[in-house]
Amino acid sequence: MNSNDSTECTLPLNPVVPFLRTERMPHIWCPGCGIGTTVNCFARAVMDCGIPLDELAIVSGIGCTGRVAGYLKLDSFHTTHGRAIPFATGLKLSNPKLHVVVYSGDGDLAGIGGNHFIHAARRNLDLTVILVNNFTYAMTGGQATPTAPKESIETTAPYGVFEEPFNLPHLAASSGAVYVARWTAYHVVQTKKAILEALQKKGFSFVEILAPCPTIYLRRNRLGGAVEELKYYKEHCVIQNGADTKDVGIDLRHQDKVTIGKFLDIEKKEYYDAYQEHYAGLLKGGKQAVAGA
């Protein structure tokens, strides 16, 4: 049954539509781009978790993934390249009732934004960080990100990447994150669930989503299109919940598997709670001691 956006109102809407700035469709993402898929998962997770949309803010950096903020009908901030996390830090701390989601790319969060990533994790700030890992700086045409697999071809590694990539779940966990998961754009149901859990988790939660970039990364590496990539994930991913993050590094060219799953879900005092507690003790009976409270 085919239809345009103006479906009769008796039919349920596309569940993503209440989240979309539909007036901005079509979006700029390419055919088969995995980013849109992750947005579907995000929208469904938000629906399920019951956070009022007015209390949900989304912050992106710059990049194809960075455009997510601009398409979501939330209080949404498209900041500068790599700086979504420190912006989100100010936003969250100034207005603690907000649920703040950082949604950006591998280059943005782990390349230029690496320092903010580890420091926010260290602080265990209550942010949900969704990182779409397409193994490339896609928006600028496909340069090697810090997650680019060894031997992959990127415009700035025309003879193949020889650098060691980051194992992002491990970096996040080692820096202090309390929730760490990795899924792929093939695993839409689990991705949705992971985002849901991350949204509900207090503290720094991190969801890495491997997603196809057919135009740039897959094409340059002659890996087919979105369908082939999703099939690859279907066939080669091994779900290993609770795996030691040390062991979940991705080496697509030398290993035949990618470990995915929920790796970490621990309790640790969140930054703002710690702050409130700290000051409550110190300044008892004083004035209102806490910003935004």
Binding site: I28, C30, M139
Partner: protein, 184 residues
């Protein structure tokens, strides 16, 4: 400025519009030994956004590298046509991807050449060579650059390993042009 040909090629990202401009300019500048300047404008999208190339061909140095009123407009999408049709000279030449562009009304003074380039490219083997089909077609219908120069330019501009496919696409467009508009 004596003889000066201004060409605008427009479509959306992913159609290879810029490469068309490069090949055309290169054919003229390197293989015909004259001077050309190709300028481009594109949006942030890797795919799908509006995208256009301006090619200026001159005998001597190109000082001003932009088109004012194009002698030739190649419209690869409806939007491209809508935006740029008015900038075509009254006596200009219009080339369109006929399955993607619908002319509101045939513009009287224009010479208009239409080709289902995308479909031909799919026939040639890959949709990606739509642009080269169109270049073959342009060569046949406008005759501004020699077929030889164009073929050299195509060969030296496409990714290694795809030369054959691209030359095939070029020939398809060329032949289509000859057959539909020139030969008869």
């Amino acid at each position: 400025m004596d003889k000066r040909i201004e060409i605008r090629i427009a479509g959306f990202g992913g159609q290879g519009v810029i490469l068309m401009g490069i090949i055309l300019g290169k054919a003229w500048a390197l293989f015909e030994g004259k001077e050309a300047a190709m300028t481009q404008s594109f949006g942030p999208e890797a795919r799908g956004g509006a995208c256009s190339a301006q090619v200026v061909l001159e005998e001597g140095k190109v000082l001003y590298p932009y088109t004012t009123q194009a002698d030739i407009l190649v419209a690869m999408s409806q939007e491209a046509y809508n935006v740029y049709a008015s900038s075509l000279k009254p006596e200009g030449t219009l080339l369109i991807e006929e399955e993607l562009v619908k002319l509101e009304k045939a513009l009287p003074a224009l010479r208009t050449f239409a080709i289902p380039a995308t479909r031909l490219a799919e026939e040639a083997g890959r949709r990606m060579v739509t642009n080269i089909v169109m270049l073959g077609f342009l060569t046949a219908t406008t005759g501004i650059v020699s077929k030889d120069a164009m073929k050299q330019a195509v060969e030296s501009s496409v990714p290694k390993g795809t030369e054959a496919l691209n030359l095939k696409a070029f020939e398809m467009g060329y032949t289509y042009g000859l057959e539909r508009y020139v030969a008869n």
